[in-house]
């Protein structure tokens, strides 16, 4: 396979995965508003997460064998990759703990929230993941300009998600009477979206750093920071893949 074919196949793979994810998201929304099966919703979330973890986060790269010296760039990137994934494992325990809290306090109910807004922010984050993947693929093929354009789109979409949650959804919920102190539904909603928004914010800072360094022409075939920023960004998306059904879709509306 020539270099160009590989690049185009990687790009079209990104498109296919995005289509799968979008269809599954619409499907879970449809299930939620019709017969609302918690089992199906969890299953769909798991499938979506696996798709992102494998095709966007490239978890299989952890297995790659690197020939050469311990001081080589490839070997060090492999070590960095392990470090990043260990951190993600650690971080997912926070979100796991929040999920336990939500299940314990709310059970099979969810807070009364604006469904349209929820679907929109979810879509925005999903599209941002697509562009992140596209940017990373282009960078891996040496197209720095394409990388900058796509990552800039990711950044704008990410910022849109953050604004949508913190400055639209939160006031909206408060107007509906769901405040941090109003009860378990409000507490769970603000804690979970707040913790996730904090991670989005750190991801945005990470993207800014990478963008700025790419603008100065720092990355070429050695572009581990780009990969790290992308993997972290997708991880934040994976968290939302679980938080979205947990907060918006599963079960009846909590009192």
């Amino acid at each position: 396979m020539t270099h160009k074919q590989e690049k185009s196949s990687m790009l079209s793979q990104g498109v296919f995965i995005f289509v799968y994810l979008a269809v599954l998201t619409v499907l879970e929304f449809g299930i939620a508003i019709t017969f609302n099966s918690a089992v199906l919703l969890v299953a769909i979330a798991l499938v979506k997460a696996v798709l992102v973890v494998y095709y966007y986060m490239h978890i299989y790269k952890l297995n790659a064998e690197h020939e050469g010296d311990e001081d080589s760039y490839e070997y060090k990137s492999g070590t960095n990759r392990i470090g990043l994934w260990l951190f993600l494992v650690s971080d997912s325990f926070v979100f796991g703990g929040l999920m336990v809290m939500r299940i314990n306090l709310l059970g099979l109910t969810h807070p009364h929230l604006d469904q349209t807004l929820g679907l929109i922010v979810t879509g925005v984050l999903l599209v941002s993941s697509f562009f992140m993947n596209r940017g990373e693929t282009l960078m891996a093929n040496g197209d720095r300009k394409g990388f900058i354009t796509n990552t800039l789109i990711t950044f704008v979409l990410g910022l849109g998600f953050l604004i949508g949650v913190v400055f639209v959804e939160w006031p909206n919920a408060i107007a509906e009477g769901i405040t941090p102190g109003s009860g378990p539904a409000g507490a769970a909603f603000f804690m979970m979206t707040g913790m996730h928004a904090f991670h989005v914010l750190t991801g945005l800072i990470f993207l800014l750093v990478v963008l700025n360094n790419a603008r100065r022409g720092l990355y070429d075939e050695k572009h581990y920071p780009v990969e790290a920023a992308a993997v972290y960004w997708h991880f934040v998306d994976v968290v939302w893949i679980f938080f979205y059904p947990a907060l918006y879709l599963i079960g009846a509306i909590a009192k």
């Binding site: 020939e67 010296d69 392990i82 336990v100």
Partner: protein
Amino acid sequence: MIKKNTVGSGLLLLLIAGAVGYGIGFGLDALISGGTPKLAGAVPSAFALLFAVSAFFFGLYGYRGITRGLVWQVMGTLLGGLFVTGIRALMGMTGNKLFGAFFFSEPAWVFGALMGVISFLVGVGVMDDWMKWARGIDTPEHHEDKPGWEKYFGVSLDHKVIGIQYTVTALVLISVGGLFALIFRTELAQSGLQFLSADPTKFNVFNQTGPQFYNTLMSLHGMIMIVSILLGISGIINYVVPLLVGAQDMAFPRMNAFAFWVAVPAAVLLLMSMVLGGFDTGWTGYPPLSSRAPVGVQMFFWGVFTAGWSSILGALNVIATVLRMRAKGMTAMRMPIFVWAAIATSIIAMTATQLIGLSFQMVSFQRLFGMGFFDPAKGGNPVLFQHLFWFYSHPAVYVFVLPGLGVISELLPVFVRKPLFGYRWIAMSSLGIALVGFVVWAHHMFTSGMNEYLRVPFMYSTMLVAVPTGVKFFSWIATIWGGKISTPTPMLFVLGAIVVFLLGGVTGPPNAMVALDLHLHDTYWVVGHFHDTIFGGFVFPFFAAIYYWFPKATGRRMNEFWGKVHFWLMTPSFLMLTFGMMFIGLRGMRRRIADYDAALGFDNMHLILTICAFGIALSVLIFFINIIYSIKHGEKAEGNVWNSRSPEWQVRSPMPAHNYEVPFEVVGEPYDYGLADSKYVEFSATAGKKH
């Protein structure tokens, strides 16, 4: 008069700045509260403490490294607090009290504390390289340290320096926690309240009466000891693991430094909690009590949260190091056994620690924003807190003891000159303890009103822990059996650890039985039990490791005679202490109380316990004097002091900056002591080319 950078000038400045800080705090307190500030009031004391500590390091070390970090932390805390106070003033929240009973209001203190931690990290300089990377500036792989003692007070990327920084900080915190124990142990020597008086006119320290102060000391004794243990194991692991696996450094040297330095502001926050009204929850911080305690509990929460990052990032680094940086030929089953223990402990520390951070964070938010996670009046569930909390805090005890058990397994073959019995079994039992440890947490909650059907499965899973632990004991006994035993100080501590940990081990299963636990819960029996496990699993092996690896770090030995005095004074005192605790515990002495009824008849026993506690303190004092003396005047020991097969002893002590000048290759089994012609490692210039 003041010589530059000496202990003397540090102490002098400590006194001056302490007085100045006290004066400023006193004035501010008088201005803000308007009333008459008390002599041992919270705000003057806090200012005095912060000024004094910063000034001490300034005199000792100048304005750089730790001094700069501390000054920045003080400034960050004040600015963060003022920022929130200003916002509150702008929002017209004066009815909600702009300034609280402790100078700042609670939200201002919390925000200030977090800003203080971040400021410390920026000020100390541990993030410099990352900041440069973010701006696209490359930095050298390693920074060269200047020789001498000064590198220990600033940021260094050398894992050996960081290991010693960790160990010394752990020893400092152990003394602080021990001092707290001595204070309340003295009060407990006799029934009735003697000097911790309940009368505020007789005893009022940091706005707390005697019994309140007792609660604070007792709670902080627990948490400060836990943090010191976490730092202690990190110290040993950091120093030893890269040497054992033949790496030049840890996988991520900058994150390694970060993990150490983040623990320093955490310790400051923990101590601040005592000054800011203290807290009366015990180290567990259960709500609803902790959601009503004074503002000190917030400092406690965020101090633990910050210390947790040290633990998480350190553990992550250990796993990456062992996975990626082993010497040629070092397969999984040829790693030194301590490395297995480090891996097992890191798996727990890296994952479960997040849960204690989260649970404390949620109580903090419950206090700040009224989020009713654990408040039944708001539909919350107080038992949920205990689940989240113990999901870390039970596995945490395995974080404490696994490295210690690894030290025992590592040192034992050296001093009995025999192969380690059942290497694979020991390696797997470490992992086994770690994994079983994740499914036993609710045995702390048999009396807390959780679902009753959960009790039995947790009872059985808890007793299952005894199986992999038992494997270790059988292996140790079989290793000792028929060996040529010699007993220098490290070996004495190893043997002491085995005995004490056995006592801690056999007193554990009774607590696991639901029927018995309903009686034993919250008695001194439990206190005796866990002091046995922690001393056997951490304190004894920690001392053993320090006596054993001290020559590697300094090129000198610690004094053998005083080492033996340390051991023979500490061990009987300690055994008497915990036996006594269990004895009165079985008879109904409750935990965590400042006073007890004379009619219970425990007075004599409590007096003995107090004397034993002072015995331990004296022995540790001897240890400190020994260590300080031996750094300069100890007997020279630059070779293979203990006649060990381990790679780090095959080169001269102290270790050079980048470890092995000639890399080694593993060619045999690690513990084949006594087998003729067997070798573990071979040094050759080609061994470095690998992967």
